[in-house]
């Protein structure tokens, strides 16, 4: 009998340092200590804080006080380093992490966080630090991924491949490990393998734009250009920030106390469906800086997803007051107002959205819907024709347009206007045919009936 074995493997050192013995671990740590000269315990790095937010100054001052009280406490140095890094005081954070690593040499997170920061400046210099960290905890898959990425950046493709594979073994749900394997396959000219790995990465993290666009490229290299184009177009709607499941690194970002960091964390929570946590972050951010329209707008989206429509509408209105041209806020408000039944305001907002973006077919449909509701047949037909001319490609919008054209056609037919009805059915049929929609057959029959 065979069975899939996904159990935790025997603890072993990363492939970069094969067959590590305990003496090797000690040697690795020594190497790190030798290459990263520590500060004296009393020398607390102090960043320039003029202009910093009071909460940040207070937090850093408190951590500095802890350090002065107990300068041999490695974890206190590490916590200080995390707070510094969270507020982009990178040089000072590196110094603090070095000290933490020296004073608490068996703690995994200090060489790991140090490695990740050093990696931003020199992948080559980060390699021994990742090695030292993984010698302390060989089972932390995100560290294998980061080590693999550093190896890839330094041109060591084979070693990178081994580390990605190790990360994938440790955590088969690690999307970045799959993506790394796919990226290396693509660079090596194996487009089919690249498609396989990157498809898996995309399944695991469908919100990740980097995976989507690399997969699109792999499709094109593999000869499936049409699929690549579809994916590339879809990727445009994905956010530019890609989140990764790395609890230790994320815990650093959780410490940031400025409004933008709250927004970043809220977006990360939202991606993972943690709407209550997202809301908490957004409200904290708004308390710090109520003038940022995007905080209010994201809050509106989060509250809408949570079912709090009045709260959502209020937040969207505030975002609109602060920045009427903020991307997406006007269409959002139009839809939200429509849902509350305030058709007049919804129509005004949808028309404004069309002024900002004349090609927004979803807003054309909303205008058509409201105009039909209000009995404005001329405007309904006119805006539906405009939507038809725009020939929307995304399925929900196209299907919505087909449905609306059909409904209007039926209304006209029942009002004794067969010619006008036929024109609506013709457009609906044209779109359905183009999309290969199963609705096409029914529409064709209905059109024939109306013409008769």
């Amino acid at each position: 009998m065979t069975r899939a074995v996904l159990a935790k493997p025997t603890v072993r050192a990363p492939a970069l340092w094969p067959a590590f013995a305990r003496s090797d671990i000690v040697a690795a740590i020594l190497l790190v200590l030798l290459t990263t000269a520590p500060l004296s315990a009393q020398q607390v790095p102090e960043p320039r804080l003029d202009g910093a937010e009071p909460a940040v100054r207070q937090r850093l001052a408190s951590l500095q006080a802890d350090l002065r009280a107990d300068p041999r406490n490695g974890d206190a140095w590490g916590r200080y380093g995390m707070a510094l890094e969270a507020h982009t005081f990178t040089d000072e954070a590196i110094a603090a992490y070095r000290q933490a690593h020296e004073l608490a040499p068996t703690t995994f997170r200090w060489p790991y966080l140090l490695a990740a920061l050093i990696d931003e400046r020199s992948a080559a210099d980060s390699l021994p630090l990742y090695g030292a960290a993984l010698a302390l905890d060989p089972d932390y898959a995100p560290a294998h991924v980061r080590l693999a990425e550093a190896l890839e950046r330094t041109g060591q493709s084979d070693a990178a491949d081994r580390e990605y594979a190790q990360a994938a073994r440790l955590d088969p749900t690690n999307a970045h490990a799959q993506a790394g394997l796919g990226r290396l396959a693509l660079a090596g000219g194996d487009a089919d393998a690249a498609v396989r790995y990157l498809s898996r990465a995309r399944e695991l993290a469908p919100e990740n734009r980097s995976f989507a666009v690399t997969l699109a490229q792999a499709y094109a290299r593999a000869g499936d250009r049409q699929r690549g184009q579809q994916l590339a177009a879809a990727a445009r709607s994905l956010g530019r920030i890609n989140y990764r499941n790395d609890p230790i690194r994320s815990s650093v970002q959780d410490l940031a106390l400025d409004a933008r960091s709250h927004l970043r964390r809220a977006n990360a929570h939202r991606v993972h469906g943690e709407l209550d946590l997202a809301e908490r972050e957004l409200r904290a951010g708004i308390e710090l800086d109520p003038s940022r329209p995007e905080l209010h707008f994201v809050l509106a989206e989060v509250l809408a997803a949570s079912g709090d429509q009045p709260g959502s509408l209020a937040a969207a209105r505030r975002a609109y007051e602060l920045h009427p041209e903020l991307e997406g806020v006007v269409p959002f408000l139009a839809r939200a107002l429509f849902q509350t039944g305030d058709l007049r305001s919804a129509l005004a907002m949808a028309e404004e959205a069309l002024q900002l973006n004349a090609g927004d077919v979803s807003m054309m449909l909303l205008v058509a819907l409201i105009s039909a509701e209000r009995g404005d047949v001329v405007r309904t037909v006119e805006i539906l024709d405009r939507a038809y001319q725009a020939r929307p490609q995304d399925p929900p919008t196209r299907d919505g347009l087909i449905q609306l054209l059909t409904n209007v056609g039926e209304a006209m037919a029942s009002s004794g206007l067969p010619d006008a009805a036929a024109r609506q059915f013709e457009k609906a049929l044209d779109l359905a045919d183009e999309a290969g929609s199963p609705e096409a057959a029914g529409l064709r029959r209905r059109l024939a009936q109306v013409r008769r």
Binding site: P47, R48, L49, D50, G51, A52, E53, V56, R57, L60, H87, T88, F89, T90, D91, E120, R121, S122, A123, A124, E149, E152, R153, T154, G155, A179, R183, A187, R209, S210, F211, A212, V213, T214, A216, Q217, A220, R221, R225, G228, Q229, A232, A235, R240, N242, L257, D258, S291, E325, E327
Partner: protein, 576 residues
Amino acid sequence: MGTRAPRPHPGTVAGLVLAIAPGCSAPPDSDVALAETPRAGAATVPAVRFVDVTAESGIDYVLPSGTDSTYPMPAVMGGGLAVFDADGDGDLDLYVIAPAAGGNRFYLQHEDGGFTDATTAAGLEGDGMGCAVGDLDNDGDLDLYLTRVGPDRLFLNDGKGVFADRSAAWNAAVPGWSSSASLLDYDRDGYLDIYVARYVAFDPARVCSQHGGRRDFCGPTEFEGLSDVLLHNLGGTEFEDVSAAAGINAVEDAGLGVVAADFDHDGEVDIYVANDADPNNLWIHQGGGRFLDDGVLQGSAFNRWGNSEAGMGIAAGDADLDLDLDLFVTHLITETNTYYRNLMLPGFEDATIDTELGAASLDLTGFGTAFFDADNDGDLDLAVANGAVKRRPSALPAPAGAAAPPAFWSEYAEPNVLLLNHDGRFVDASAQRPWTELGLSRALVPADLDRDGDLDLVIANLDGAPRILRNLTIDTGSASDGPKAANWLRVRAFDPRLDREAIGARITVRTPDGPRLLHALPPGSYLSAGPATAHLGLGAAESVESFDVVWPDGLVESFDGVAANQVVELIRGEGH
């Protein structure tokens, strides 16, 4: 044979040349002091030597950024430059473009190599971001399109270096924040059209901060991106905005750099746009004036990691000598600059790692850049102008004896970089002055200012003087591959029907070391305009065997070879 001698150069280049006599080693008060400690990461290689001759040039103007305590974003993004022969006297003049009101300056070069301010006489006052230079009305002189934060401006040249603002009459006042612009004749009607990259809908009321709340310049993600604009030249009389018909207004990205060239060799000119934090666009001309952004599938929109980077400047050139155009895009600190190798699949691959171009850029924010043969050894090297847009993690120390950067910019200032091509891998050759000096550099243009056969560099600096770096390769025989192995050719593709250079012409030169690809293109770089005449380093070769030219209208001609070390003009219709 269809080639002709270039126009005579009026006089020699005494002023700049005399600063360093040929064959001399470092002068007493040297800017090329060789004993200086190399910068970390810069390898010890036989360096090409540049000397800063700004002080001798007569240019002492400090380009005003217009920055203040409100940290206005245009102040950190500006600093444009044009290097062109404005008055038709055979030497190159300078136009320095400042984001601050009234900050632009125009300098005419004299026979002795010195420059004098002729801004008012030339009618080129004002402010701006960048520019494009070319003969827009086919009257034999170079006109100037000025991009700005606000309506752009068009200046037509009277042939003597006096310009008239014809923005309104030509419908050239493109609104919004325009950055770089590129000339192309996409419809092959003989008149140069303009692609204008536009940046973001900047809102001065937006306050941005970092480092726990310290106020700083905003980044592009704080604002909506703007769609770019394609201006169709209607017979040299006015422009028509054809952005919608061309399909290029379909995306609203934060455009900063642009290069127009036939990247896939299908005979149609394409357009590559570097976007700041947005995916780069590769507008492939479908024919009939329609463009399709194929950057994602062709591997030039995102880097190897699938990330969009902070695209600033672009260098285009055949860096791997396989007869197609590769691309190099400069980026923000913590991102590498990215080298996109053209695979002609069609498509590109991110070959930054293979070419070893990553490490030299990770700690710097790159803007202007150019592929150019710094040492005339036959392959393309790179220069990058740097300077942060937000405070660096830590300020860099100014090298001993060098002037400190302006106080406001002390936490932003960075050194520029020279990277020499060694068999397809690039080696940092910036260990010595002037490369170690700190500043806020933006536009960068390679051009043979002193007409001695090697390419000098002009670099615009915010709140600093534009720096003229004179290349000493010819004077000292200091080509990195050996003494005196520094022969050269300058190739001008000229279309007599249009009375102007054939911008976009593709020239394959058969040399003893193999074929070399040249393009008659102004440098892309960043906010920059420069000569469209192509420069070819020949190393030890003393002649070339032939030229094969694909003219912009599709005509293919061959021309006989010539001896090295001259300017050669290939005239359309006179080949075989």
